[in-house]
Subunit: 362 residues, 2 copies
Amino acid sequence: MKENYYCVIMAGGIGSRFWPLSKLSAPKQFLDILGTGKTLLQATFDRFRNMFPAERIYVVTSSIYEQIVFEQLPQISRQQILLEPLRRNTAPCIAYASYKLGELDPAAVLVVAPSDHLILNESAFLQEIRKGLGFVEENDALLTLGLLPTRPETGYGYIQFENKQLQPGIENLRKVKTFTEKPNLELAKVLVDSGEFYWNSGIFLWSVKSIKRSMENHLPEIAQLFDLKKVYNSNKEIDEISRVYSNCRNISIDYGVMEKATNVYGLAADFGWSDLGTWSSLYEHSSTDINGNTLQGKNVFVYETTNSVIRFPNEKIVVLQGLNDYIVVESGNILLICKKVDEQKIKNYLNDVKLKLGDNVI
Amino acid sequence: MKENYYCVIMAGGIGSRFWPLSKLSAPKQFLDILGTGKTLLQATFDRFRNMFPAERIYVVTSSIYEQIVFEQLPQISRQQILLEPLRRNTAPCIAYASYKLGELDPAAVLVVAPSDHLILNESAFLQEIRKGLGFVEENDALLTLGLLPTRPETGYGYIQFENKQLQPGIENLRKVKTFTEKPNLELAKVLVDSGEFYWNSGIFLWSVKSIKRSMENHLPEIAQLFDLKKVYNSNKEIDEISRVYSNCRNISIDYGVMEKATNVYGLAADFGWSDLGTWSSLYEHSSTDINGNTLQGKNVFVYETTNSVIRFPNEKIVVLQGLNDYIVVESGNILLICKKVDEQKIKNYLNDVKLKLGDNVI
């Protein structure tokens, strides 16, 4: 692995989708949500650790999670944890990491990845990352990983690839034609059937030079705010970043850069990926009992119950009977029981709870 | 109220039917199961207190509940709490109370009543009790209250009354022909349609003389065991009662005496009664929201849920969605979710829990 290759893990999510299991005080990426013995952040770190030395893996997170990251990743130093004072979506997060790393190493080439995704085939994944890093080092390109869709998923964004192969050496590399937001089921079916659309993984590769240039073109005010030069890695960084974030708008990298830039490329990949964005997606990747239930909790007694996601603390004694296709999750002082088909409504329920009891319950 | 009239409240049940709300450490009679601000025992006591001075109301309970009874009924003295060292069903319980009270007052006339029933029309109830006490004082009679059935309930035993009126003064008094155990639905319909059958309330009235004589005839070995004379109300009582119970068989007063005696009478009554023996019966007597849910718990958020019994501690935050006709009850460290139609299975589930985790969880 070349010395100018870096990994940036984005770990700032607040995880309301898995409420009550994840909450403001413990979002999804900091939980062992799949019961593997590692949190999703640790699994992501370990995955990249196969390829990068620990000192070239950086984590961007909210300042309130500094201690959690430090405890979960003892292999990295405090200097490798970039703290966002406010939540401003992915564009500022990526700008921060890119400009700071650019100061350390102007030739830096990055993979930027979320901290809370599932990747089943690690070696296939790392092989694509390796290919991609090589490509973006040589080319002024913004590269994103697109996943071969296996179903008309309505929970993901899609990327349309051009048919034409670009480089003889990387046959799965294509120019990106369009980005499509989460489609409805009908459209999702059309996209999948077309053979041109891939799931948008939110995993990006680029050189610091390229991403800075793209930001200057498409998000000039953000580029200007984050172009702090020698302030980075100095004792002024925290104060200046605090000022920058309070003046910075909330915008995603997809909307702010990827959908506008003309040098966007995609690497069509297939490594068993899920963004674990819903209980159903979580469920899909967990082992089940003979009735299709995924069960956590040592003292849960289940009767006449099928295809349900059931999670309780080990010390809780639970008898469940007659539930089919439900989510039944307890965490701390909170219990959620909801039909799986209605999990999109959980965020509304959570709003009701917050309205009555205050934000501190999530 | 005559000075030889006494009330005996039976409060020894262990309440596994309402698990996990009631358990060995806090059976149903000691809980405010209807959310009225009084436990069922307190409500029963207060009901009789309209008629009896506190010093003539006795409670029979298990020795492990002595302190609970004492705390819930500060109006009575320790001497009025009869402690059973072992559970031996209602015949020994009634023998103990009858022989002990007979030593205090050989002319004693008793009403013996369970501690965990619901009675809606208190004045109608007390009027029947008054009538009944007068009758059993004048006659060598074992009298039981029969409730006019309002539905073919399969959860109750039935009593068949003779058609012939007995006393011009008490027109609802009849001789009892037969006792019928809990019937199946088909039989229950026949019994109700016949107009001769009444629900067996388990509330009895008799003089000490009559019940002692009946026990000598039908349960002579129990009569002999409990005929302790001057031992009662002395410092030998506890030791002797301990010996008696360990030599005493387990038998109900219905099976041991009422079904065999020839001097059994019934008072046909209608005062809005339930033995609160099932979640459904509890549900029937609780106030419901517009969707038919009975709800306890200050922070329970309910969506698309109907006809369910929902009970949580006030401090628990709960979101429930998509449940129709369920029991959802949390108590302490235990959560139960079960379809209402399957509530008879709860005792089996409880056995599974005990098998795995030991008896101390109930």
